[in-house]
């Protein structure tokens, strides 16, 4: 039996893999694990099916005129190194782009960003860009740290839980355990979501706001709390700055205006605001309903304003919980797999950053600036300035907005290398495909959403000649003549503990890991911001959050509003779950959810094949007519490649997160 951590969402549930004759045969959830207590959601159970899947990539492959040609690792690494070197030398390192993976371990993310930066290239990013880039930017600006503030299980101590833009019941089911414990003890649960999701089903109060109006909803609540004097004056005075700017920014944001914009009645908004502000311990859980907007950063800052104003931080049962999607998205950000940050959120513009890492890595060419985000890499590829990409464990064709544009961008590259466990839609376009090991086939650490850094252990061997990403990246670096003296994951983790301050004391992770920030072994604060904020001066800042209407309001040609999201039995781009038979048995096709009123007008009935069209493109799916979705809104999960043919290229100007939640569309029945 090998202890491991679930490879799907960021809750960090623990289970054992039972191994028989080299094959992982059985999953046994850990009843002693503090996160899941023996529970496991369907994706966790199905994770076994990805390990020995017949479609796993087994050999390095090169595209030729006659199809894929099998290569040896030596050949493959040489081709990759030659191409990166050739393009880096002739066009400069900025012509290269690296996408790291939030499914990879901390160690692997650390090495991938090190590889990019020691080649002088600042263009290194990850899919954190698509889910919580706005959280990283927004929460850092307001309170100096960009993570969940309290452990997930601490939700059980809340007396009021406000959930906005998160459908945790489907996407982080284990949260329901803690939320329901709180409810059983008398807590109020408020869920703001356009759809009546399974999460809304648990709620005492459901606020069905119009997609894309989160900032207005939060601003309305904040203004009401100020007007009624429900805020925590002591906390605001001791711990924050900028209240007056916030107050003046909300001068015209009455509840009546919030009602007009969000479609939620002023009375309901006032009730929610009072419940949150006046409870002895309130927590906010938010997800991509807040972050994935062209005003995503404002949304996150509005959440922070609400929590700061009511002093709902730094105590048990309080806090802000941005729910991360991937098992290691927190870790990838910690490790600097975002172009704005070196490991440990050190800014590239700070001269000390380049000095410290230059000395540590023996490199004189580290970029002292931010490079391109993954969204900008696609722009640069189209523009002809980005010539080669090395994509690890990500499938931008499915996950990025505006698929035809992403496809064009990748097609215009001189060289594309993709490293993954399956032949994804993106890998199909590559010049070189490298087979990677999956989570059960390697060692390393993952950092869950609650900042819990946990070890995973190797249970089985990778199929064929597939190798751990750590092995591939280290050997590629050596082929390039770079200094990568790492033998295994633990040698990398030791370096991480030395170079990343918040990981400094995490030398012994024990059975259930440890939380960052940890400066001394065994000592960490599970709850952040108890006495001060990690900002200069230790105070948090109120940041006026400006409400901007959606980039695309429905009109005559495109009368409906498309919003995208997730379903419980699938995961992200679907490259794994669409290959998992037991999950496909529950849900195997793309559904287009719409309200009965809209369906009646369009003469669409349940199960009809329909075409959804936006200015970007069109896609077909099967209608699911449901009262759970308000009239005028259409919902499609993004686990199937067709969905992102429809989404567009609008993005948040600060964090570059794309607008994936509100897009004008039309729906037609297929004839």
């Amino acid at each position: 039996m090998v202890a491991t951590i679930c490879p799907y969402c960021a809750c960090g549930c623990g289970f054992y893999l039972e191994v028989e004759r080299g094959q992982a045969r059985r999953i046994i959830p850990r009843s002693d694990h503090p996160v899941n207590q023996g529970a496991l959601c369907p994706k966790g159970w199905a994770s076994l099916e990805m390990i020995h899947h017949p479609e796993r990539l087994k050999w390095p492959l090169r595209r030729t005129a006659d199809g894929w040609e099998r290569l040896s690792w030596q050949q493959a690494l040489q081709i990759l190194a030659d191409n990166l070197r050739r393009i880096g030398d002739t066009r400069g390192p900025d012509a290269l782009g690296f996408l790291s993976s939030t499914k990879c371990t901390n160690e692997e993310n650390y090495l991938i960003q090190k590889l990019a930066r020691t080649m002088g290239c600042a263009n290194v990013d990850s899919c954190a860009r698509l889910c919580h880039a706005s959280t990283v930017v927004g929460l850092r600006r307001s309170m100096g740290s960009c993570s969940v503030t309290n452990p997930l299980s601490d939700l059980a101590n809340s007396r009021c839980i406000l959930v906005i833009g998160s459908n945790f019941a489907e996407n982080h089911p284990i949260l329901a355990r803690w939320v329901l414990q709180a409810k059983e003890a008398g807590a109020t649960l408020i869920v703001a979501d356009p759809r009546r999701t399974p999460t809304a089903w648990l709620a005492d109060q459901h606020l069905p706001l119009r997609p894309g109006t989160d900032v207005a909803l939060l601003n309305g609540m904040v203004r009401h709390i100020l007007d009624q004097g429900l805020h925590d004056r002591d906390f605001v005075q001791r711990r924050t700055t900028g209240l007056e700017q916030l107050r003046s920014s909300l001068a015209d944001f009455s509840l009546a205006r919030a009602e007009r914009i969000t479609g939620v009645s002023a009375g309901e908004l006032a009730r929610a605001a009072r419940a949150y502000a006046s409870s002895p311990a309130s927590a906010v859980v938010y997800g991509m309903g807040v972050t994935q907007h062209a005003s995503g950063t404002a949304g996150v800052e509005a959440v922070a304003n609400l929590a700061l104003l009511c002093g709902q931080l730094g105590r048990p049962g309080t806090g802000i919980l941005p729910m991360r999607g991937q098992n290691n998205v927190q870790g990838a950000c910690d490790m600097g797999a975002m172009t704005e940050f070196y490991p440990g959120y050190r800014l590239p513009e700070d001269p000390r950053t380049v000095q410290v890492f230059g000395a540590a890595w023996g490199s004189t060419c580290l970029p002292a600036r931010k490079g391109l985000t993954s969204m900008e890499m696609m722009d640069a590829a189209l523009f002809g300035t980005l010539k080669a990409m090395y994509i690890v464990g990500e499938d931008p064709i499915c996950s990025h907005p505006d698929q035809s544009r992403t496809r064009q961008a990748l097609q215009s590259l001189d060289f594309l290398a993709v490293q993954d466990i399956f032949m994804t839609e993106t890998a199909e376009m590559a010049d070189l495909v490298l087979p990677a090991a999956c989570w059960a086939e390697k060692e390393g650490t993952f950092t869950s959403a609650e900042r819990r850094v946990q070890r995973i252990y190797r249970a089985t061997d990778p199929p064929g000649e597939a190798r751990e990403d750590l092995w591939i990246v280290s050997n590629l670096a050596r082929t390039l003549g770079l200094n990568f003296p790492y033998t295994d994951a633990s040698s990398v983790f030791q370096e991480i503990c030395r170079r990343v301050t918040i990981y400094k004391g995490l030398v012994d992770l024990g059975d259930f890991g440890g939380f960052w920030p940890c400066l001394e072994p065994g000592k960490w604060n599970e709850i952040l911001h108890q006495d001060c904020f990690p900002t200069e001066g230790g105070l948090a800042r109120f940041l006026p959050a400006t409400y901007c209407p959606s980039t695309q309001e429905p009109g005559a040609d495109y009368p409906l509003l498309l919003t995208t999201g997730r379903k419980v039995c699938h995961f992200n781009s679907g490259s794994i779950t669409r290959r998992t038979p037991s999950l496909l048995a529950i849900s195997d096709h793309l559904v287009v959810e719409m309200n009965p009123e809209d369906a009646a007008v369009l003469e669409i009935v349940e199960g009809d094949r329909v075409w959804v069209k936006t200015v970007q493109g069109s896609a077909s799916g099967y209608a699911h007519v449901s009262g759970s979705i308000p009239a005028g809104v259409v919902f499609m999960p993004f686990h199937f490649p067709a969905t992102n043919r429809l989404t567009g290229d609008a993005r948040d100007p600060i964090s570059h997160i794309p607008e994936l939640k509100a897009w004008a569309c039309q729906v037609k029945k297929e004839v």
Binding site: G44, P173, R196, P198, S582, S628
Partner: protein
């Protein structure tokens, strides 16, 4: 003892279904029915005290053993009458019928321990009723305090 579902807690994640299927060679005795896109109801054999499936089984494959209804596959002829007789539709499979066996060998059935939201519970009738009674009493008590 049969497994109970608290529909107010079920988030229809299908975790119980998957856990059952994974631990029973791909056959699940649990069916998560979603009613009106809203309420998840985890349907699991009630192990009826006077079970219609036992009454119609002329091969004697279904038997009452203590508080459980047990299926002996070796005696089953695959006639399908039990499937038609079950008022909850919880006997599945054609020639290889399958129903909840309460996970022999485990202290608690896997569907109960795997449920993320804690919607499933098992135990004697009185214990389950007692649990729900205590919860309801707490709720009433709190509403009294508020006034």
């Amino acid at each position: 003892m049969p497994v109970y579902v608290d529909v107010g807690r079920c988030v229809a994640c299908h975790g119980c279904e998957m856990a059952c299927s994974v631990s029973h060679q791909g056959r699940s005795g649990v069916f998560v029915q979603v009613v009106d896109d809203l309420v998840g109801v985890s349907m699991i054999c009630r192990h009826c005290q006077d079970a219609p499936c036992i009454r119609v089984c002329y091969a004697g494959a279904l038997q009452q053993e203590g508080t459980e209804v047990v299926l002996d596959e070796t005696l089953c002829t695959g006639c399908g009458l039990c499937q038609a007789a079950c008022p909850f539709g919880l006997i599945s499979g054609g020639t290889r019928p399958f129903k909840c066996d309460l996970c022999p060998g485990l202290q608690t059935p896997l569907c109960v321990t795997t449920c993320p939201s804690g919607a499933l519970s098992d135990g004697p009738f009185q214990a389950v009723a007692g649990h729900f009674r205590a919860l309801a009493a707490q709720k009433l008590a709190r509403s009294g305090v508020r006034r």
